[in-house]
């Protein structure tokens, strides 16, 4: 059985070392936070200018001055700090985040990432902090379904969507497999509900 998004988020969370500084991208990656053990000491960064962000705010906790990169109201944990945008991106671009987890349209076997723009005519491009996270974090994990709705692999020999960054992804977490990517190509680490041989046949990369 392929993993649910929640199950996959738990697998990603398992692989984040205790005490890491982590940025979770908008969308699916946000769910990883729910699966980090309370005593993990993992510190979440949000690129709009905060470290040690807490869970989403509810009810009276909601404060319009306190939102995450997805513009969702969040909370502050003890030991938090605030900083301006240049300092926040300096933190990302300077290589200080241990891990970031991003969504993707496509990842190449050598770690190229395409996650910001479909490239379709009429689609309005919007990049946000994706390119900065892609080049900045010590490890970039991608979290995505391995196949699109038409059954085509999103892990590809070469990205056809507009690139976010070159050779920046180190590992891809998908519903059917965890795959390392990089200069040496793709290596399957584990599979879920599918054998490695079946996976290789479907991927053909």
């Amino acid at each position: 059985m392929p993993l649910s998004t929640d199950e996959l988020a738990a697998i990603v969370a398992r692989d984040i070392p205790p005490g890491s500084y982590v940025n979770l991208g908008i969308g699916q990656p946000t769910k990883v936070a729910d699966h980090l053990p309370r005593d993990s000491g993992v510190v979440l960064h949000t690129e709009n200018g905060m470290l040690n962000m807490g869970p989403a705010a509810t009810g009276d906790q909601i404060d319009p001055d306190l939102i995450n990169a997805g513009k969702v109201p969040v909370t502050e944990l003890p030991g938090a700090s605030y900083f301006h945008h240049a300092d926040s991106f300096a933190m990302m671009r300077g290589g200080h985040l241990d891990v970031c987890v991003l969504g993707a349209f496509q990842v190449s076997v050598t770690g190229d990432l395409a996650n910001w723009h479909t490239g379709k005519p009429g689609d309005i491009p919007a990049v946000g902090g994706a390119m900065d996270l892609a080049i900045g974090a010590k490890q970039v994990f991608v979290m995505m379904t391995l196949f699109d709705k038409q059954g085509r692999s999103k892990l590809v020999p070469t990205c056809t969507y507009p690139l976010t960054g070159i050779g920046c992804v180190s590992r891809v977490y998908t519903d059917v497999a965890v795959i390392d990517v990089g200069p040496g190509g793709a290596t399957v680490r584990e599979t879920f509900g599918i054998t490695a041989d079946e996976l290789r046949d479907r991927l053909a990369v």
Partner: protein, 222 residues
């Protein structure tokens, strides 16, 4: 004292902004968005503006209202497309507004560079992507870097939490975002604040924007 002037209304605060100006607008989504100043700018009437901001407006308020009023020629931002960016989307699809998409970290660093006297800088962000097309590159320590130039404003419109009468500012939580860097990068920086306190009312260790960067201050309408 010093150069900051406390004004009675947002209308006074935005007076003199000229057609064709480059306006840096603080805020990330709605947090830190200087709504009073933008509304006053709409009333003031300056047109053919270039707006530099992280987003391109939400709903029909703030930046979206300025766009809808037809005052903006060009938007320089990192993330125009949002669930509620229909005003921008419509103008863009109708070919009525120009868009320059800049990676968010380059946007922030280019604004900082303008305030810090940096003529240009090299950074790996965007190397090899369509957003770096046509830009000069250089390989430093084996890594391709893109040359980026400062983004200066004629005016910065920002929102802060508290000011003293010398123009020192503090912000609140993630509403800090672009305010501190935009304040440094404009010829005239205009801040709306929730509260103005006397000199000595802010902790010198916790001032985020020193008054040297702030020219006009107005207290928010309640």
């Amino acid at each position: 004292m010093s150069r900051a002037r406390i004004l009675d209304s947002a209308d006074e605060a935005v007076s003199g902004i000229e057609d064709g100006s480059t306006v840096l607008v603080g805020g990330f989504g709605l947090a830190g968005m200087p709504f009073d100043l933008i509304d006053a700018l709409i009333r003031q009437g300056a047109k053919e503006l270039t707006v530099v901001s992280n987003n391109a407006g939400n709903g029909e308020v703030g930046l979206a209202a300025l766009l809808q009023a037809g005052r903006v020629r060009k938007v320089i931002c990192s993330f125009p497309r949002q669930t509620d960016s229909h005003v921008f989307d419509g103008l863009y699809r109708a070919g009525k507004i120009e868009l320059e998409v800049v990676p968010q970290g380059n946007l922030a660093e280019r604004i900082r560079a303008a305030g810090a006297g940096i003529g240009a800088f090299y950074c790996p962000t965007g190397a090899g992507t369509s957003l770096a097309e046509g830009k000069e590159t250089r390989t430093i320590d084996g890594r391709v870097h893109v040359l980026e130039y400062p983004i200066k404003g004629d005016v910065a419109l920002i929102s802060a939490h508290r000011a003293d009468t010398m123009g020192n500012l503090v912000y609140r939580k993630t509403a800090r975002n672009f305010g501190p860097i935009m304040a440094t990068a404009a010829a005239t920086t205009i801040a709306q604040v929730r509260e103005v306190v006397p000199v000595g009312g802010l902790d010198p260790e916790a001032v985020v924007t020193p008054g040297i960067y702030v020219h006009r201050i107005v207290q928010e309408a309640c």
